[in-house]
Subunit: 204 residues, 2 copies
């Protein structure tokens, strides 16, 4: 997949480009990098670099074909393999479950799992809360490839094992630990304290 090479910063701007293109009058069929940059307040070099990285090529004196560029951006954010689950339905897990920003990036946050859940509970946002005993069958049935670990550190390895056995290929881990995992599974650790500590360090 060529998307693999997109930087996080460029990916972050994909929904911005897309909503801008969709907001244009329907008579506009082509658009230049200069116009996009000016309208969005981005640098022109950055726009050219971003659109180049997503394999869109503008034509001299014409610019980008709007329909082609829109299709390419949509393809990048498409929902294929975007089904995700959270394990750990504490405050963090529930906050992530009801967070509405995921869908802008083609991620369907389907449900959160925990040991203490009884049955047929839902979150404030109407998402499913399910017992962890159902995790594996749920992931297989819904072809879930993304898992979020929001359990205490002492349970994180068990949850990781369970997610990997259930077919999950990428794990976003909020527990403060290092996990053992199969070679074909990617783990990204999120250390909330470190982000704030690093920000603090830059003051003054």
């Amino acid at each position: 997949m060529e998307q693999n090479k997109l930087s996080k910063a460029t990916l972050g701007r994909v929904p911005v480009y897309l909503s801008f293109l969709k907001s244009l009058d329907e008579n506009i069929k082509t658009i230049s990098a200069t116009t996009i940059a000016k309208q969005l307040g981005f640098g022109e070099v950055q726009v050219r670099k971003d659109l180049g990285a997503i394999s869109a090529t503008g034509k001299p004196r014409v610019g980008y074909i709007r329909s082609e560029l829109t299709a390419r951006l949509e393809e990048l954010l498409e929902n294929e393999d975007g089904n995700a689950v959270i394990v750990g339905a504490g405050r963090l897990g529930k906050a992530l479950l009801d967070y509405t920003g995921f869908k802008d990036y083609g991620i369907n946050m389907l449900a959160a799992f925990d040991v203490k859940i009884s049955d047929e509970e839902t979150s404030k946002g109407g998402k499913k809360l399910l017992p962890v005993s159902e995790l594996s069958s749920f992931c297989k049935k819904n072809n879930v490839k993304l898992g979020v670990i929001a359990v205490p550190t002492k349970n994180a390895q068990d949850v990781c094992n369970l997610l990997c056995e259930s077919g999950v290929k990428a794990i976003w881990c909020f527990a403060a630990c290092r996990l053992y995992k199969p070679a074909d599974v990617i783990i990204q650790y999120e250390n909330m304290a470190l982000s704030l500590a690093h920000l603090k360090m830059q003051v003054k």
Copy 2:
């Protein structure tokens, strides 16, 4: 401040080095980079680079003076200017308020503020929940330099203004927006969806 130059990755390992040094038998007065690397499972080059970046210099055949190295690491994590507040006491705000990992990095998460708070409420973890009308006086009284924005996007700019007027110099913003701010205030944006989307993109 020389700490300004520490990378986030190095800073992330500071608590690990520190707890390792503290765990050693008290008779151990010096320690080599080789031993630290072996015991922690880090690369030796990385350990030398990390400790070099925090201005610790080992002596040939002796290694690092344990007491000096410990003091230097503690200094990096010291609590000066580590007082922080959260604005927005929804799920995310409360999850961050009770998150126990901040103290490892010298951050005191003191309280969360919201419009809907009545009085003398506390979080599950026993932290203060206060009405936002008290934010400014609280920040000034407690010399708060760090603020977290965990309110909906439409309220984020007002909260940012209030934090800046209250003396906050670094803001960690979870709202999906760009904020106007004084030149001497640093803002770091946290886009949770983007982190997961970028992870998703690396699968396969």
